[in-house]
């Protein structure tokens, strides 16, 4: 095999600054689910109250949908995609192929966040990591409490970048992009996106 030049992907693809949308905050924390002590829990929170938020999603078409997928889909069905103000994500454990107890754990994650923001059906949940293991709910529930109680939310670049880091598994760099756009009317708006993924990647979502 020919020698392969190593590329410093982190310095190439991770931004050092950015402009972020109004009325959103990002919070993250190392709950202890990841054995190496890295960030593994994140929450995106809508703080804008001038009008109700809207939400949309696409999900895996894998027949064995994980508990967070089933629950998030249900939240969108019940809410009609309106009034969803938070997304809670953990990494390190996928809460997949965990049956009824997995669904209860996902509900508990959502329930803790809903209680903090004082709304029903206002939170989507995602998990990523090892398949076939139960979530360590004591650590995750306590982590959510800490993010809210210690107000670990921020709207600066570091807060968004840490959120992007908190969802990583085998990723070698966090994936965060943000852009400002101008419409013909002169209205300016912002898109911010985060993603994670490095393996088991050939999605076909609907």
């Amino acid at each position: 095999q020919k020698a392969v030049k190593s590329i410093d992907k982190y310095s190439l693809y991770v931004p050092k600054s950015g402009v972020f949308p109004q009325g959103f905050k990002a919070g993250s924390l190392a709950s202890g689910v990841k054995k190496n002590g890295n960030l593994d829990l994140g929450i995106i929170l809508n703080t804008n109250k001038s009008r109700p938020s809207t939400a949309a999603a696409v999900f895996t078409t894998n027949k064995f949908k994980a508990a967070p997928v089933l629950l998030s889909k249900k939240v969108l069905d019940i809410s009609g995609g309106e009034g969803v103000d938070a997304i809670v994500v953990n990494s390190g454990c996928a809460n997949a192929v965990t049956g009824d107890v997995g669904l209860q754990d996902a509900k508990q994650m959502v329930g803790v966040v809903n209680k903090k923001i004082g709304s029903e059906n206002a939170t989507l949940v995602m998990s990523t990591g090892v398949i076939g293991q139960r979530l360590q709910m004591a650590k995750i529930s306590s982590g959510i409490d800490q993010i809210f109680d210690a107000d670990k939310f921020g709207d600066d670049h570091e807060s968004w970048l840490n959120l992007a880091k908190s969802i990583c598994t085998t990723d070698t760099f966090p994936k965060l992009i943000t852009s400002k756009f101008k419409l013909p009317s002169g209205t300016e708006y912002t898109l911010t996106g985060m993603a994670k993924g490095a393996g088991m990647i050939c999605p076909n979502m609907a």
Binding site: V4, K5, I7, Y13, P21, Q22, G23, F24, I44, N46, N48, S50, P52, S53, T54, A55, A56, A57, V58, T60, T61, N62, F64, K65, A66, V69, S72, G81, I87, A94, A96, V97, M126, S127, T128, G129, V130, T170, F173, K175, F181, L183, P184, S185, T187, E188, Y189, L191, T192, G193, A195, G197, A198, G199, M200, I201, C202, P203, M205, A206
Partner: protein
Amino acid sequence: TLLGFIVTDLPIKSNALQSMLSSAVTRSFNCISVDGDMSTNDTICMLANGAVDTAVVDVTSPEYEQIKDQVTSFAQRLAQLVVRDGEGATKFVTVNVKNALNFADARVMAEAISNSMLVKTALYGQDANWGRILCAIGYAKLGDVASLDQSKINVSFVSTDGSEPRELKLIVDGVPQLDVDEERASQILSLPDLEVLVDLGTGKEECQFWTCDLTQEYVTINGDYRS
């Protein structure tokens, strides 16, 4: 697993947001492959909080199409970062299938090339193995057999660093170029970013898929992921 969120401060009706996101994902996150495996958790979601003081965007709004296009290209940028970070990947490869009869079959062919273990290992080894690309196209599960005409297909490697000739033709109108410039092929295949161009000549639709090479490192990472 693929997870992603897109948030915006525009006010967008929920049905318009869903339509916008679904359309964007069809041409972005659903057009990437690292290893051909689909997770139980893949999710992309989008929130719009309406913090910008402007009229609510609906599917009938004049700016709807423009915003949809902006969300699509934004999602493509994000999806491409996932491929660039593919486990063990050293190359980012754009598979561009153009002049196809319909988008669905263009996508099926682009996906077959992108998922082929043998194409991906050849890309890693910098081997201009056009036969494997043609093989993958040949077994792609097309919706319409008319999408593929063996006498019209063209396959090329395309450089992305500005060097010339930019396009190295491997198959022209279904005929393999047996005297292909191997030195130029090696130059293109040694680039960290390159393109495989397939011109089907059966229509006007186009699909881009993004993939990476398959390396020993991928096996190392996944041989003991659970433990």
